[in-house]
Structures are given as C-alpha cells and as structure tokens.
Symmetry: C2
C-alpha cells in the first residue's frame, strides 16, 4: 500500500472536534507536531511545516489571526486571510490537519485570563507594541492546551517571540518541545513575512536595506569588532541611507536573556532590527555567535 | 488477589520522575484525579481526596507550600509542614502518588511567566492579598501541566479560588475538569483550615462567630430578606459581638461572576467573610440559592 501524505487532510474549526482527532492520534502513540500560524502561508511557514512533517507522525497547522496580539491602530483588520490557498499548500506538504477556529471559538467570552512573560516581553518589539506578547503568550497557551502537541515549531525571524515562548513553556512546565527554525529569505534577501504583501516595488527596495544592514554588521563583527555600540552604529548607518526607512529599534542583546550587552563575548548576541517602510512594520535579525570566552 | 488500596503509594519529588509515572498511568487509560494541596492535611482536604479516590483510577495529591502566593509579611515561613503524617493519611485513603516537590523543583529559575485572572482576582481576598491569586493561578497551571489530570478537586471553602481557577481553566482551554467540593466543618461549625492550628482555645471561640454570622444571615434570607445590604448587616452585627474579631471583608456577590449584587434574585449569591482572629486570617462562606427569577 502506498501511503500518500496529505491525501486526506482535515480542516477543523471546532475545538471539540479537534480534541477528538487529537485523542485518537495520541491513542496511536503518534508524535504530534504543531505549527501555529496566522495564515497567509509563505516560505517561512513552509520551512516550519516541512520540519514538522519530517520529524513528526501527525502534523497540525493552526490558522488563526489572533485579535489579542494586535494593538489599537495595528493591522488586524487588513491582515491577509487566505484559507483556501493556505489549505492547498498545507495539503501538498503532508499536513494532517488544519485547525482554523473562529474568534468566537477561541474567545467565547470576555478573556479574563492572561499569560505574561515579564521582562523578556518588554524590550524590542514589546516596547512599541504593549500587550502584543501577552496576546501571543495567551493564545499560544490556549492552542497548546487544545492541540497538546509533542513539538511546536516557531521561526527565528520572530526572535523575541521565540525567546518569550521558550521561557513561557519552561516556566509553566508545558509538556512540549519548542523547535526554532532559521530565518527564511527571498532571493533578494528580504526575510519572508506575511506583511511583505503590503510593500510596493519601490518600498521593497528600501526594505532590503534591513537585511543589508545586518550583513554589514556581521561583516564588521567578523573583522574583529566586538563592541556592540560600533556594531549598532553600522546598522544605523546603512538604514540611514534611505529616508523611506523609519527605524523603530536597532538592538544588540544576549540571544537568550535579551539583556543589553556591551560586547559580543562569551555569549551569542542577537542583532535585531525593526523598521517601518511606508506603513509596514518589518523585523529581521541575525545571531552573532561568540567564540569561546 | 486482594488489591489493597494505598498499599504501594509513591512519594515523588522530581518532576521528571513524576512525568514517567503519569505517562504509564495514561498508557493504561486510567482516569487521573488530582488534589493540589499545601499539605497539613485536614478533614477538608480529606473530603477532596475521598472524592478523587471514589471517582478516579489514579489519584495524585500534591503537597507544596507555594511561595509565590504568599505576600510579604504573610505566614509562608510558619505555614505547617507535616509531610510524614500527610503521607500516612493519603496512603490510608488510597492515594496512588504524592507529588512533594522542593521550591527549586517548581521554581528552578526566576519565574518570569505569570498567569493572572483579571477582575475575579481583584475583590474579596484579592483586595487585601495583592498577587495572591496570580501566585495560585501560576502554580496551578504549572501543576496541571506536570500532572495532566483528567479532574482536579478544589474546596468551596476557598470560594474565590474555586471561581478563579474554573475561569482560568475555561479561558486557557486547559483540558481538565474542575470539581468543587462543599465546605467541611468541625463539629463546632468552624470551617476546617490548616491555619486553625494557629488558634488558641480562646481564639477558636471567637472564630466560631464567623460561621455563626453566616448562619444568621442565611436564616434572615430564609425569612424572606433578599436585600444584600440587610443580609450583610446581619453578618456584621454578629461578628461585632466580639472585639477579638477583626473584619477584613463581608461581601455578598454573584456566586459565579463575583460581582456585587443588591438583591438575592435570579442568581446564587456567595456570602463570604474574611476576618482576623489574633494574627490568623480566616475565611468562610455560604451560598444563598436564589429561587426562580
């Protein structure tokens, strides 16, 4: 018998029905992999899905544009929703199940309970998006409790999110493993993001400066510069070459604790950028790996 | 073969070892019941344990004096710790496993992640114990993730705690059922509590006024008084007969939403008292069941 992966992918929107599917998968002792997404699936998500399909027996992708992680005036309404084409992509990749709940399924009553990771949520994107990580942590806790996966896959592109979620899982003893997969880039170097769709051709050219600035930073580091102020300066310099790029933050922090560091030494350093091009917020990052102390 | 309940109860202090035990119990499709306690097991806990043993195949009692739910100046240090006698009691009742972790097991690093139930945590005991329910919710989430029970048992004596935990479980989609068991009282009417040990004989007599005031309140209600101000007044009057009883709060609220109500009508009302006798904080409550609207 030939087993065709993805031949009968299910799309489920109700939590109760999902729990039933999960229970039978667990009965069969299948290793469950979970890729939480907000849909509009791009190459970045695909890399997570491929990693899940490769290492797990039962793969669930959730597609839910989570209102509680958007701030006022952010792009919750316009965020792309493309369930049909998303489902097609997932099926091709061998996903077993898409969980695509409505807002009413996920938040049937006023949400009073919030999961917050202090300190790690406060800098970087948390500074300009108050409440964002509280929304992310709360919805991830909910999804983890619904899906009960063995492994959940997150992208390094959302570096702070990955650090926050890993800490949350450890702090709350959530019984699952978090896998963080590398940043995926288009051929021109732009980190893939659902928000790239918002960019005009002209804006996309400006957006490329973000990755370029990180590459220049890395080059400088490889030339022996360890001082984070100088490394930060290089990023600023490159981004400053276009007036269309509005810097939100440029930050070099310990890759695990997200604490400010003055030198790349004895620990890996996350060099992260957030910038607005037009109305579109973009983020990107690289890790500067320290040698031995 | 005679199966002697409790014949081989295990006491486990490490999370890793506990997870192994849980996994095998789950493999055997056993219904797991969980009674989280801070130890110093009394008749109140016993009623929870008995309910668990009666309705579940595998019963776990946790004994952990959780530092994060005590405020500054509260009785964390002096809180009774009696693991040996607790274990004896549990074994007799047919408990399968005691989970008695150290603080280091439960909090191996600075806890950055907190679970908070807004609004429900703020009144009643939450008002005079800021952070208390945040600590309770966080440790319960951790314990639920470690033990992964099918049912967890809580006492109605801690009425606000029961409401908060039920809401947390619903809001976070935690896959378990919460059973709330009735208040257990000593023969003289005092609600059982680990803190009753702190009371001198004299103080115990004063403490009895708490339940007496609730009984008088119920009597008035049964006589047809539905106005919560008058019902509250009766409790105040009875407690006022001793200068040794220092009222923290007397409150009549919707038993589910904990919102203030002016009349017992169309919904059950929780009449709850917190008072200090000497240095000991005591709480008690009754439910005034409304008839039809």
């Amino acid at each position: 018998m030939v087993f065709i992966k993805g031949a009968d992918m299910k799309i489920i929107s109700e939590i109760k029905k999902l729990r039933k599917e999960i229970t039978s998968a667990r009965r069969e002792d299948k290793k469950t992999g979970f890729v939480p997404t907000m849909g509009a699936i791009h190459k970045g998500h695909l890399s997570l899905i491929k990693a899940a399909v490769e290492s797990c027996d039962f793969v669930i992708v959730s597609i839910f544009v989570n209102p509680t992680q958007f701030g006022e005036g952010e792009d919750f309404q316009q965020y792309p929703r493309e369930l049909n084409s998303d489902a097609e992509i997932c099926e091709k990749e061998g996903v077993d199940l898409i969980f695509a709940p409505s807002t009413e399924q996920m938040y049937p009553r006023k949400q009073l309970t919030w999961v917050n990771v202090e300190s790690l949520s406060e800098g970087l994107c948390g500074a300009s998006r108050p409440g964002h990580f509280r929304g992310v942590c709360t919805v991830c806790t909910k999804l983890f409790n619904i899906v009960q996966p063995d492994v959940a896959f997150f992208g390094q592109k959302d570096a702070q999110q990955a650090v926050v979620i890993k800490r949350m899982v450890a702090d709350l003893n959530i019984p699952l493993k978090i896998e963080v997969c590398p940043v995926v880039r288009d051929e021109d170097g732009l980190a893939t993001s659902s928000r790239n769709k918002y960019l005009s051709d002209e804006q996309r050219k400006d957006a490329l400066l973000i990755y370029k600035s990180l590459c220049e930073c890395r080059k400088l580091y490889e030339q022996g510069v360890k001082d984070t102020n100088r490394l930060r300066g290089k990023i600023e310099e490159v981004l400053g070459t276009s007036r269309a790029v509005e810097i939100d933050y440029i930050t070099l922090v310990d890759a695990e604790t997200l604490e400010q560091v003055s030198k790349v030494s004895g620990r890996n350093v996350l060099a992260a950028v957030a910038a607005k091009v037009g109305d579109t917020c973009l983020i990107d990052n690289i890790i500067l790996e320290s040698g031995q102390k």
